[in-house]
Symmetry: D2
Subunit: 139 residues, 4 copies
């Protein structure tokens, strides 16, 4: 396909041998694929630092569903951003603990602001924002 | 409830003022809650470093669903670990790009190994492991 | 001293026990000190994200001193920022490899820009920016 | 030189263009150099996770030199590890605050343990361990 380009990289034999050994352990069968992954990770970091581009993130929340009004509060916050939240998965981890994983698409800055709001809500035991990508720029 | 304990923290006024200003911006309405979040984050990091305890993680994969046999490969890997994977959510980001978010429960080391396998698969554009928790130890 | 304030934190006994066990392993003899460290780390992160405040950082460079003109290039870049660079320590790691550790004071954004320039210089094997603080706000 | 090898990487034009734009902003003049830096960073992370190999790190400490006995305590800890600590640089940041930057060589695990001890000492305002390398494996 015309969309694929090829270029050469030169480096010391030792560096290459170490890299090859390392990625094999991680399960890579192709050195090019491992390098593309390093490049993509680099680009995703950058995309999020810029803050304005449309990107994709997940917000992971662990909480006790018995905490008074917590579920309502979290739902209330989410409803203010329905245009950004694509989906929400709820897992009953045990009798008390729930995991909620939201998937969001929008400007990095906005997703970060929603994550801050949800994670800072009293009763949320653990919250994390995971920065991934729409995949468009990584074609 | 008898399960709640209280203790005092002493620190300089300046440090406290800076902390309060900062967490207010993040949306916290309670200083105790912000401190508990710092404590929990610390514990979750530690739990994952140990590697053996049961914990919870998500694996986020972005890929082009048209890449030959990629979907099959990813499904094949996942089927080897059905006892660890709780759920999988699939989002069609656009005509080409898919997002798959897996939720897993098990030893941190095992979840990390599955993440390595999936993320290193050729054609996966971006993959990330997010380390969260069962919530049990953060009661 | 009047500058020290004290406040109470309430949390579940289990969370506190886990935290205490964890910080003891790390060598803390005081729970307050461990909490203050979490607070300070949080504030330093924030200070650097803002970018404009005066702060302190180190830049760590590992390179082969025999690489042609590399030393000159690195010195040349450093001389453009003499007002920001406080000190530079040079260690001969072995016959070929050198470690240079620069200590800088200034706006976070500027220190980051200098780090980018130095680390991207051809021949630098490994470079890292470490974000620390003037200590003023952490009084 | 016979020690240099060359290999080809294939990737989509779009991914390459994004990468080139990004690294140019960071100051890279050579794409190969940017890729080598990604590879090296990957290897240094791995070296530290393994814990046993000889590696190099810095420990950055900010503290108020007027805090009673703090200087003595930090010196005392350091003296137990003289064979690991290569050098120590002390900067007077202002009337009260000091920055101390230690450079260490040894097993990653040991350097981490020393960092834990120093950073957890009461009165240290901010402490960080920076993981770099002997450079040997990155030849």
């Amino acid at each position: 396909m015309s969309d694929i380009v090829r270029f050469g990289v030169s480096l010391s034999r030792k560096l290459l041998e170490n890299f090859d050994r390392n990625i094999t352990r991680k399960g890579y069968t192709s050195r090019s694929e491992a390098l593309r992954d390093l490049i993509r990770e680099h680009l995703v970091d950058f995309e999020w630092k810029e803050g304005k581009k449309e990107t994709v993130g997940t917000i992971t929340l662990v909480y006790n569903h018995k905490t008074r009004e917590l579920g309502e509060k979290l739902t209330h916050i989410q409803h203010q951003y329905v245009n950004l939240i694509i989906s929400s998965t709820h897992i009953h981890l045990d009798k008390h603990n729930c995991l909620e994983v939201l998937i969001l698409k929008g400007a990095g800055k906005k997703i970060t602001a929603i994550a801050d709001k949800l994670i800072s809500t009293k009763g949320v035991k653990h919250g994390k924002l995971t920065m991934t990508t729409t995949g468009k720029e990584l074609a």
